[in-house]
Assembly symmetry: C2
Homo-oligomer: 314 residues x 2
């Protein structure tokens, strides 16, 4: 039973693009419920400017009110020095920094060239100076919706620059669901060869239906850390109508069925997932919450029972 | 570039459970459009009694009116001797027979014990006597929604009985989306060891999001034949709200991205998939038709172009 570690990103990555503000009470209650499920990590919120992401303008309050469960790491997204100060005041267990490996996507998403992003994030890392572990998420690592291919060597080079600054972990992100399993296998091989000492997390989207196939390809190469979003919430503005992040409960269901130990109580998680449409006010892409886990049996129809009885007497 | 062969089942497996009758003209036009895409096989319709499946009551007319494209096999579902006679009069290229490996599911679905189904199908095989190739689809081969586990040995035993009758192919069906990749890998290994001389097809559902992960697991074991349904249409009555069959265009998109040769023109197929909601009158689960293929780039936003210009002058 190999251990797999899940990082739940729904309240950050999922909620940040919701059209309606999710009440702070609902966010706190959701994080607390997720904490009781056995996640290794929860990305709670983002310390960006409230103007940039108004949906997460209650970052301090959420971090202040959640119940910290021992064994669960509470990580937060941090875009810059000011965000890092706020995050550390909020006693985040980890700071997650993000930039794109594609210049065009970085310009579109962060409004600056990659070198400027790198400089700003390096400043954060020097400021934190080992007081709190740092994870760096590299976006569009499997392709950019505007530039197309992002060479694996380019991703590895950016990863190396952050590794050289002493970060604890790297998250390699398929931001818009362009990755395919063969590409994932190659990337995971290269990452593990080069960054064996770091926590390596894979972040997939299900935009084109390949999310769980990519999880499979990654676990086959020995990757044990994944981001997932409850209900498959989240997504990318370049693919309207398409699915977003991989659905945590669907990924956990698959891996548990295969015999992996995710540490997560799937029954509890599904109960929370089934409440999610009520929180966000719309349907979500997750499948297992609708269909039920594969090991949950359905009752035998009355017609079959009658037929069996008839056959027994014939 | 390993060749993968797709069998498109939307007009049979997809349409048979649609709530509204699809006009014969629309069925014929759809099969003709699919024929032009490069499929290896199309399961056109079912020669069941019009009372049992009223949605496919126009089986003869559809088979009579479609344009046969050389290189495409037109297969049909056949439940019994009467169906086989009708199918052969309609010049089907292949007869697809079906029974469940689970007794309860066979009783629920076919209203008879498995032994009685086997006897009826054996009668069909003897009647056809080599005049038309026979494929046998074994349902619930990865689990029964009512019984739970279906032992692999049970599936192999039923497969062996049909192999002994001289069928050309076997389709191993995950009828309600219970299969997981580790189970699929074990099954594919066993099937290929034992039935190397037969055409082996895998039929997956995406009920719990594992459809394409299971396709990946199967191709990794060397399986080259798959059923798929345009738009992911179809499904099972035991999982309301959940996805049905794996979506052909999503599976083909993934395999092509990985470098496999599916023989299918993905651009043509996506154009057809995008027309499907108009034919059936509701949304369908397929993702790539909504998001576009991963290699299709999006325009660079004007804001990025302006930012680049500003940076060049700064």
């Amino acid at each position: 039973m190999k251990r797999i570690f899940f990082n739940e990103v729904v309240t950050r990555d999922g909620f940040q693009i919701e059209p309606e503000f999710i009440a702070t009470d609902a966010k706190v209650a959701l994080v607390d419920a997720l904490s009781a499920c056995g996640y290794a990590k929860i990305e709670v919120t983002s310390f960006t400017s409230p103007k940039a992401i108004p949906m997460l303008r209650d970052a301090e309050e959420v971090m202040g009110r959640i119940k910290r469960v021992p064994g669960v790491e509470y990580t937060v997204l941090v875009p810059n020095l000011r965000g890092a100060e706020r995050a550390m005041e909020s006693r985040a267990d980890e700071l997650n920094l993000v930039m794109s490996t594609s210049e065009t996507h970085n310009l579109a998403n962060l409004r600056m060239p990659r070198e400027k992003s790198f400089a700003a994030l390096a400043e954060v890392i020097r400021f934190v100076a080992g007081r709190t572990p740092i994870n760096v998420s590299l976006s569009t690592a499997f392709g950019c919706p505007m530039e197309g291919d992002v060479p694996q060597a380019e991703v590895l080079a950016w990863a190396q620059r952050f590794a050289d600054l002493g970060v604890r972990g790297l998250t390699i992100c398929d931001t818009t669901g362009m990755a395919h399993p063969a590409q994932v296998a190659r990337m995971c091989d290269a990452l593990q060869d080069r960054f064996a000492g770091l926590q390596l997390t894979l972040h997939f989207h299900n935009t084109r239906g390949m999310g769980l196939a990519n999880v499979l390809a990654a676990v086959q190469q020995g990757i044990v850390r994944f981001d997932g979003s409850l209900g498959g919430l989240g997504g990318c503005p370049y693919a309207p109508g398409a699915s977003g992040n991989i659905c945590s409960e669907d990924a956990i269901h698959m891996l548990q069925a295969m015999g992996y130990d995710t540490g997560v109580d799937l029954g509890k998680l599904l109960a929370i997932a089934r409440a999610l449409p009520g929180i966000v006010g719309h349907e979500v892409p997750g499948q297992v919450a609708k269909a039920g886990p594969s090991m949950q049996l359905h009752p035998v129809p009355a017609a079959v029972t009658e037929l069996r009885a008839a056959l027994a007497f014939s």
